[in-house]
Symmetry: C2
Subunit: 247 residues, 2 copies
Amino acid sequence: MNLILVDPGELRPDGTVVFRGDRRCRHLNQVLGSRPGDTVRLGQVNGPLGTGRLLAISPEEAVLAATWQPDPPALPPVDLILALPRPIMLQRILAQAAAQGVGRIYLINANRVEKSFFQATLLREEAFVEHLRHGLEQAVDTRLPEVTVHPRFRPFVEDVLPGLTPVYAHLLLAHPGAAEWLPAAAPPPLSGRVLLALGPEGGWVDFEVDKFREQKLRPFSMGTRILRLETAVVALLAQLDLLRQWR
Amino acid sequence: MNLILVDPGELRPDGTVVFRGDRRCRHLNQVLGSRPGDTVRLGQVNGPLGTGRLLAISPEEAVLAATWQPDPPALPPVDLILALPRPIMLQRILAQAAAQGVGRIYLINANRVEKSFFQATLLREEAFVEHLRHGLEQAVDTRLPEVTVHPRFRPFVEDVLPGLTPVYAHLLLAHPGAAEWLPAAAPPPLSGRVLLALGPEGGWVDFEVDKFREQKLRPFSMGTRILRLETAVVALLAQLDLLRQWR
């Protein structure tokens, strides 16, 4: 936890914030061994970064005086469409994607997605938010990715996707068979928002690739090695980041 | 398992190979539901890729006739120096690094490494080899990364490292405080072997950075986000791969 996240509703009118018997209170006590006068890094969910000076601390309660930077961190310039993976992999993907920085995540169905994954507790109870927060706490960011779940492929790609694509400068589809590599599909220096779609283990079926192509998503290949989805997500977010750094 | 690995010693003079009651036999029976006449992808550890045609299969035993490509896959062009992480993270890092392609991995000590990690069963009994093999089976490669363990920092950096560095075209040190970004430290199009060093959670201490600099490792920064080591390894291997693709 390189950052302690605070929900805006937790801020008190006098500028203090109180953690009572929760994970943050335990972190201050047990990991940091914090004492009154210490300062820690704070962040408001979807708001600014800041610092908290400890006014009082006990095993049950920590009281901090918070100060905030004027502006929140920039919105990460990438959004993801992911064919829904199994829950244990989804947890890790969400934490890592939040750490690397992602604006929105569309979890969608596809021919090779196991339908039962849509019934997972992780999705039904929005338990995934915890994993997104872990990613932000790791990376020192406050921009909580918005996650939506789309259990039917066609309504997503035919009805939802056309309304989304106009805001993106680059529409990309990771697809093992594709002829182009990423630097050709998204030439550096990259700028503007990117929408990146990644398929299930086993890949998209032809119908799905055709549907994405109709919406102007550009297929590209990651090479000959077959990577697990969680490795591929981290790898591609890192590569897009590099294409932006290029001058 | 996109590939079934075979040790060269398992090959019989008549060109067949037998899996008896092991993970591979179970995979053929339970995951693939293989029948006589089916073919599967094989790979010899550190040798060529090939295919195996099933001659006979039962729950206890599978007999395959193997044919092999003339040449083994190319040696991956990247080697890693990693400050030893905790065992559960090391497992995932090794599997992912093998999947992405790495030649050698030097697991070393550093000031911020927990010393007890060197006593882990994973290291003592070379149990890590299993995780490397999982990575190769995922990515369809046969080049098993060579892993060595170096429990003392100075003897590694002063005595071992100088003998290693001459073969590399690029010597890189991931270091949060560095002024340069990766595309400046390793300009595209990248060619030749790369040695990449990554530090522990909390980073290298100044003494360690100085020691690596003496050996001509070039520090670079990954940006302002703090990533876990397992995310950083995948991200950097992917970025180096992209720098090679760029023409």
